[in-house]
Symmetry: C2
Subunit: 324 residues, 2 copies
């Protein structure tokens, strides 16, 4: 099988690629496993720490450029579309967010439609499609009310992928992902980036800033769990999904205080002392506009799972960091 | 005030233009009335029966062409964006639906944003943003689940207009309109066109075909009521709307059987005999996928109203037809 991962040099793209290379095969629809022949990681940037493997190629370019997309999608069987400008960046630079998050997806979908091979595509959305006044518990049927351009672009993306799938132009699946932590690497321009920093930096003996109150709730997934969900979403038979192509994922509901308590249990009180609390009203507002209590019965019925607890999540991060 | 109505030679565009010309002024935000200086009706087609008035100009062109839009929006204060490829046509010709319903809107929004004057814009959406398995009663908080490309394009349009308004690029307002009947003129390519035909044609002594069962429910607005809602949506102060820019409208819930009974009461049994019942499974399926029982508390709180009953609606159609 020939595989394309857009946003492929981002941390989830790299971890997904490594997992596919390690597996060597992928079984779609409960059928016989098929060999992973080739993986194209497409991104705007060359990434650091890209797996070194003869089956893997990195291609850089503009996701909204149709000739580029025609080239990288040629002969592709499976697409994970992860390329995105993250929340704060898309809010600060409206044009960039529209170009990548909306026109990039539209160009990709049209390119795949014109090729007429209806490849399988997994699209990464997120719970930033919600905002403002929300019900106490968000579920599979809660109306999308984005309060950021990033959230709007993801909500539009969900609708586009679902309709292209309904029309049979692609075999599309949308994953609505929780906030992912603990991310490896460095802080990015996501408003949520501190959820990783306040764990990752202290574990490395470095200081970190927490811009929100300890009681701030959050809905999380580990990178490992997100990658497993990416794989499951791709391998499910289309009949299992029917016309219901948007899959809001289960996650772990916790608070910043509980995350910090878990850090102390795993790494000791000195680690916690490296966190400096500097409230930022803008980030507090953005983060609080996202749902933290979520029911995801559809995803659970399909076999998707949440992380069991935050201690486990920190230990997995330590293992993954040590492995690199 | 200088006004642009896209889709302006369609029947709602013409009725709205006539109403504006008759009023001569429009009072925004409860302020002093301002003079209607100029109305541009923009459409792909020259229309029949366009009001003849020195204040009014018809311009034809492609709604997705940026230079055209820059020209017609120059100096404009108010925009009603009604241009759309209707449901069955957008389903049959995916490219055309995307070009007009999605790229047309996106080009318009970007043109207005680049001009930096943040004009007021009313966008016509519809209850075709819903489909599939719906709750017994659809309300302001029901998740959008379009089951047609037209519905997807309208749902995407709602999200785009709301975000452009949130960012302050436009002062946008979305009206989610019920099915409009009785439309004047001829049948179009909307799956819902028969809701008008089965009343309009018999009143004119002509035969009509009804492709659905008599017990089929429908959620309706008269053209008059739709035009009044268009005016109210434009005149409301932005403070009355805040960040809640999508306004699902009240409507009249009835059935085909009750519509036909009203026709008999108003026009006699001979009119009803002109309806031929020829079930069409495709149209039945599409029409049944739309909601018919709707609660619209937000719109009602803003002063929007539904038609009182279908008899009144037929009588208004007869009056409007006689007036032309």
């Amino acid at each position: 099988m020939r595989i394309l991962i857009t946003g492929g040099t981002g941390f989830i793209g790299k971890q997904l690629a490594q997992r596919l290379l390690d597996l060597g095969t992928l079984a779609l629809d409960g059928q016989a496993p098929r060999t992973v022949e080739r993986i194209v990681l497409f991104d705007a940037f060359d990434g650091e720490g890209v797996p070194s493997d003869p089956r893997l190629e990195v291609v850089t370019g503009d996701i909204s450029d149709a000739p580029t997309l025609a080239r990288i999608t040629d002969g592709i069987d499976l697409v994970w579309h992860l390329a995105a400008v993250v929340s704060s960046a898309a809010e600060a630079d409206f044009d960039l967010g529209m170009q990548v998050n909306l026109h990039g997806l539209m160009t990709l979908l049209e390119t795949l439609r014109q090729q007429g091979r209806a490849p399988r595509l997994v699209y990464a959305s997120g719970f930033a499609v919600f905002g403002g006044v929300l019900p106490h518990v968000v579920n599979d049927d809660t109306a999308l009310t984005p309060q950021s351009s990033y959230g709007m672009q993801k909500a539009v993306g969900e609708l586009l992928v679902a309709d292209y799938a309904r029309k049979g132009f692609i075999d599309g699946r949308v994953l609505r992902l929780p906030t992912i932590a603990v991310r490896p690497g460095k802080p990015n321009k996501a408003a949520s980036t501190f959820f990783s920093s306040i764990i990752r930096e202290p574990l490395a003996g470095l200081p970190a800033v927490c811009p929100v109150r300890p009681d701030t709730p959050v809905y999380l997934s580990s990178p490992r769990r997100a990658v497993e969900s990416m794989l499951l979403a791709m391998t499910l038979a289309p009949e299992a999904l029917g016309n219901q192509r948007v899959i809001p994922l289960p996650g772990l509901t916790t608070t910043v205080a509980d995350m910090v308590a878990a850090l102390e249990r795993v790494a000791g009180p000195d680690a916690v002392k490296l966190i400096r609390w500097e409230p930022d009203a803008t980030i507090q507002r953005i983060v609080e506009s996202w749902p933290s209590r979520v029911e995801a019965p559809y995803a659970r019925s399909l076999g998707f799972k949440a992380d069991p607890d935050f201690d486990t999540l920190i230990r997995a991060h330590i293992e993954d960091t040590a492995a690199h």
